[in-house]
Symmetry: C2
Subunit: 349 residues, 2 copies
Amino acid sequence: MTPPDHRFLRALRREPVDATPIWIMRQAGRYLPEYRATRARAGSFLALAQTPELACEVTLQPIRRFALDAAILFSDILTVPDAMGLGLHFVEGEGPKFARPLRDAASIRALGVPDPATSLRYVTDAVRLIRHELHGRVPLIGFAGSPWTLACYMIEGEGSASFARAKALALQDPALMHHLLDVLARSVATYLAAQAAAGAQALMLFDTWGGLLTPTMFTEFSLRWLGAVVAQVRAQAPEVPLILFSKGANAHLEGLADTGCDALGLDWTIDIGDARARVGTRVALQGNLDPAVLAATPATIRAQAAAVLDAFGPHPGHVFNLGHGITPDIDPAHVAALVDAVHELSRRG
Amino acid sequence: MTPPDHRFLRALRREPVDATPIWIMRQAGRYLPEYRATRARAGSFLALAQTPELACEVTLQPIRRFALDAAILFSDILTVPDAMGLGLHFVEGEGPKFARPLRDAASIRALGVPDPATSLRYVTDAVRLIRHELHGRVPLIGFAGSPWTLACYMIEGEGSASFARAKALALQDPALMHHLLDVLARSVATYLAAQAAAGAQALMLFDTWGGLLTPTMFTEFSLRWLGAVVAQVRAQAPEVPLILFSKGANAHLEGLADTGCDALGLDWTIDIGDARARVGTRVALQGNLDPAVLAATPATIRAQAAAVLDAFGPHPGHVFNLGHGITPDIDPAHVAALVDAVHELSRRG
């Protein structure tokens, strides 16, 4: 068992730590040659994500290489819509697509909450296996996509620069959009609670497209349902800390903190000290080095890591991370330089 | 001659207007069938932008169709680096590329300020022709890219999600980056002043990638050089109003207003009333309807336009626009609905 006083879990609870914990979004990813080898063996991204043994293997790869303070389940936010029957597949070089996107009210009204014990069993199996294989070395994070973000993909059927179809539905038939978001909130909360029951020791909710909304629409269509997910997860898994990351939504930090989550993820376009001044000690903060810094020299990486640590200051409640996922072009030696710098520079006593 | 009391120019000067003026970023673009026909005739985007008669034709097309309050020169922000010798070309479906990107200090130190009278003559010729063909119907806007944005493209050699090369150079050799930004600021200011001398009645500076920076880097590498361009344009063309648009940089509105520009462009992720409360009457504000709204029904477009007008309130100093460029999928009838709604809903007395 991971001790409950691991520095990652302590930081999420805003308790003092011996050094600032760090993990990296997309740490199990294409910048690692061992990931690319496993991915090639799996044949497809989806086979990798849906085979517990392979998902476990790539989840552990960065933990073996670096002194990271948390593992994160290798999966995809679109597993939930897939389990709802939309038919997820990945087109090489084009990203995710759904065979059956939501194009009418009837298909939205027909959606139900998927049972994690059946259609998402491969995820909870992976969580159990990873927990076993981690041997308590570091805590395991489970995750899901936010209702708004999932709705965007489900309505468009694929990624989009603007998600204009989803926004048009929200503006033209808000009742129908809220029906969809309600089903998604219950699905996501049930899914996150199932990951916690299978062994995930922290949970993260990715609101990838909330930042594309006007303030009014963000409050109504994204934030409201983030709050619903937090409340429902709290009720089902009260002990498991929940991190909320709404990319590009720095204008809404106070509202995000008010959801009752334990921590907020931050992108790099805000000073983490300013963010802390705004949300106080209500939540821990996770972030927020610009991922592009990892393309610079180790000396520059160290200096920029120091700047983030200094901006946060000597308070409890900081989990170091990038402000967005690591990119495939990064030299793994630069990741090692970052992880070591964060631990060395933040060492207490 | 366009009267100097045209409502677009009055709004930029924060003077009362009979109705809120509107123009649309990328109003001369692929959503118009007549644009697609002229583009096909030109053979390439670059031929279209570099042939004054064709650039004039597409600039005028949206003015013929809609009751827009300003025309904007059809051109590209990368004309300046092209004139500096980098070899601009467009690869179908991939966007702009430079044949000779900046990959070492020597190539940066070798750059000079291009003379608008020679290497950018096709632009000033287009401005003169458009002014003549407009017959004073609406004012003409000239534009350029910001020093930081141009540096990003010049260092990467093409578009990028992260511009990690440009950021690494800024962090690792700030003196060299500032040398580049200084040359670019002087080039851009000279270029904008030449457009004004040729007849442009307002100027706009697009800081497309400033919003990808941390607050510290934004201040040092983007904002500082925006201020330099504004000051130099002011000195060379004191009568011509200057609009600054730093996409995704809503956290920095106060600093942007302090540059001494006349107006700030806003994306749609901020309430325009909140923006006005922050910058006061120092600048006019241009924006900020979510471009995705144009994919909704005309009734929804009208309601959302009303929401933006209401958020700004009954003060002088509003130029209506989208928060980003119009997308190629939009029905021109929806643009007409927007333009008419803005004029009708804002009509005074």
